[in-house]
């Protein structure tokens, strides 16, 4: 490193007292000759890494003037890294983000609206439920880079052993099956109750199935503490505390733990998405299982989650950055990605791909899109998400009744929403 520059920077740093100054510093660089570099953050390891490394190489072959430099960041760290980087101006040009963070980043002023790059044909090809999540405040802030619903994975052999013909179709049947499957070291359902956003993701379908909602239609207040919400949480808590149809460790169960319980004869049912298929194939290829839609309460509902690819406002080479986004999200690569990662197709042109439709289990998850809903896209969502998972945990732990827990959370959510106007 060039020492004088370092000293100058050091002096500048010492002079700073506020962080704000740190955010404002932008180094204007001369246009470099040679290939342009686009810095990209891809969230996720494993399949993500293999797929996107290869994609970046292919992209570079087709666009020799653009070099894509990818850093892979585990999902757990993604939110934290993106926000801190955005706030201090040290972010990448393009990043993957969980769709639930997009509005937050946009409200921070960290993202580049993408509307001007889009043609109507381009946007119309995306599945509506996926596309909606990219909209906030009248602009498009990201492009879907993965989309999925969840369903009920169940052990067919266990189901037969308790004398059931078909997977549970409504809440009552679900509860009965879960209770009947529970014997010896076996449990009916592996409930995710760890203190993380996964806990919210797993409970919210129950809220919707019971006719409840997360927020009021004007998005000014919490609505999850309605009668329907309280009932839905009560149902959840009863499975654990009253019927003991859920392993005792529910409060320290993450989604990956729940997968393992399903794979290794601990739990007979788990609610998760299509990425689980490849894990089953790898770990327990002989597992006898099938996928059913979530049991219906007052109505059918499932949660659709969408990952986005976004461009940061600080991106130096916006055209090149867009080229990469466009490449990643083109029909061919979107489809290949869905297949690799275990997502359902999110471009209409890919919906009838026999690779997906042939598999009845996959078909269940694709059909579920009809009843799928997404989290509200609003900047405060990540905070609401945390408060909800706290409430669910508190109720599961028996520290508060479902009503008390949800009321407490609702009060805080109301404050947050009021404060944001």
């Amino acid at each position: 490193m060039n020492l004088p520059v370092a000293w100058k920077r050091l002096a500048a740093t010492l002079a700073l007292t506020g962080l704000a100054a740190g955010c404002a510093s932008t180094s204007s660089s001369e246009a470099p000759s040679g290939p342009v570099t686009v810095n990209v953050w891809v969230m996720g390891d494993g399949v993500w890494k293999d797929f996107y490394s290869r994609l970046a190489n292919r992209f570079h072959t087709e666009n020799p003037d653009i070099q894509v430099q990818i850093d892979f960041i585990p999902w757990d760290q993604g939110h934290e890294k993106l926000i801190t980087a955005a706030a201090s101006g040290s972010g990448p040009d393009v990043a993957t983000d969980g769709g639930r963070w997009t509005a937050e980043l946009a409200a921070m002023g960290a993202l580049e609206p993408l509307d001007r790059y889009l043609t109507p044909a381009y946007r119309n090809d995306f599945v509506e439920a996926a596309w909606e999540t990219t909209q906030w405040n009248g602009h498009t802030w990201g492009i879907p880079q993965g989309f999925t619903t969840t369903g009920l994975f169940y052990r067919t052999d266990w189901l037969r052993a308790i004398g059931c013909e078909h997977p549970p179709q409504n809440w009552q049947e679900f509860k009965d099956v879960a209770k009947k499957m529970t014997q010896h070291h076996h449990f009916g359902f592996s409930l995710v109750g760890d203190n993380s956003m996964e806990t919210t993701m797993c409970w919210v379908p129950f809220l919707w199935q019971n006719g409840g909602d997360l927020l009021t239609p004007d998005r000014q207040h919490a609505a999850f503490n309605s009668e329907a919400g309280v009932q839905a949480l009560q149902f959840y808590v009863d499975l654990y505390r009253k019927d003991h149809a859920v392993p005792a460790s529910a409060l320290s169960t993450k989604r990956n733990d729940s997968h393992q319980m399903f794979l290794h004869d601990i739990a007979g049912m788990t609610a998760t998405g299509p990425w689980f298929f490849s894990e089953i194939k790898r770990e327990q290829p002989d597992l006898k299982y099938a996928v059913a839609p979530h049991p219906v309460g007052k109505q059918a509902a499932t949660l659709a989650t969408t990952d986005h690819i976004v461009m940061l406002k600080t991106a130096a080479r916006k055209q090149a950055a867009w080229k990469w986004i466009d490449y990643v999200t083109n029909p061919e690569n979107s489809q290949a990605w869905s297949k690799t990662a275990g997502f359902i197709p999110y471009r209409k042109s890919g919906l009838h791909d026999p690779n997906f439709t042939r598999d009845p289990n996959y078909q269940v998850l694709i059909s579920a899109t009809q009843n799928a809903r997404a989290y509200p896209t609003l900047p405060e969502w990540p905070q609401i998400d945390n408060l909800l998972s706290d409430a669910i945990q508190t109720a599961l732990a028996g520290k508060r009744t479902p009503k008390e827990a949800l009321d407490d959370a609702a009060q805080e959510v109301d404050e947050i929403l009021a404060d944001s106007n």
Partner: protein, 277 residues
Amino acid sequence: MKRRKFWFPVLWWASALLFLAFLVFPVLWMLSTSLKPSSEIFHTPPHWIPEHPTLHAFTTLWQRGNFLRYLTNSLLIALATTGIAVVVSSMAGYAFARLPFRGRKSVLFGILTAQMIPGVLFLLPIFVLIKQLGLLNTYAGLILANVAFSLPFAIWMMYGFYKHIPAELEEAAWVDGAGVGGTFFRVVLPMGLPGLSSCAVFCFLNSWDEFVFALSLTTGDELRTMPVGLFHFVGQYGIEWNYLMAGAVLVTIPAMLFFALFQKRLLSGFAAGAVKG
């Protein structure tokens, strides 16, 4: 001395084994899991001794991840941190022990307090600082943070150590015409060796253990250290415990080697530095 009764060794060994059972069993379980094939991990009840021991987890880890890279990163950062921190702290410790100057007491108290502050509390300001210095995603940035957070305790240790070395020897060397540098290098430094080695062990293990800076001051996996790499191993999907435990075994071995190297003088260094003050 009175002769020990015959039951003394029996009692001693019984209690020693009790202590070791608690202290060592997690490491044994780690080793045992790392030698199991994936199919055996989820056996209930689990067995201590793998039925089909295999190095599969180690070889997979080697091939798949960048674990060799993480290990090298950890080692590089820990060694550099140790080197710099030992030199800087022995100089400062010597100054505090020998050279009376104004405000020494307050500076020492400040350093003592600094030693107690966890890095987590300063994560954001340090992130911004490292960014301003242009050292995000560099070894230098991580080493800088690690050195700074190892220094207070190291200085304190070296200060205590030098204080207990009689000044007469230095004076004698000076009278013999050794000069300032000569006195330090020929007399002070050799006498400080036990202190230096316990200081080195401390700094090395401190850096080896460091997590939050390694997590926040780097982005990709080029500069990831072993603790961060293993932490991320518990990913979004399944946890492969045998691979994770293989990684845990790999990260423990270098620390053991380093410790073995300096173990002999560790105790006297601690005695002088930390306990006597």
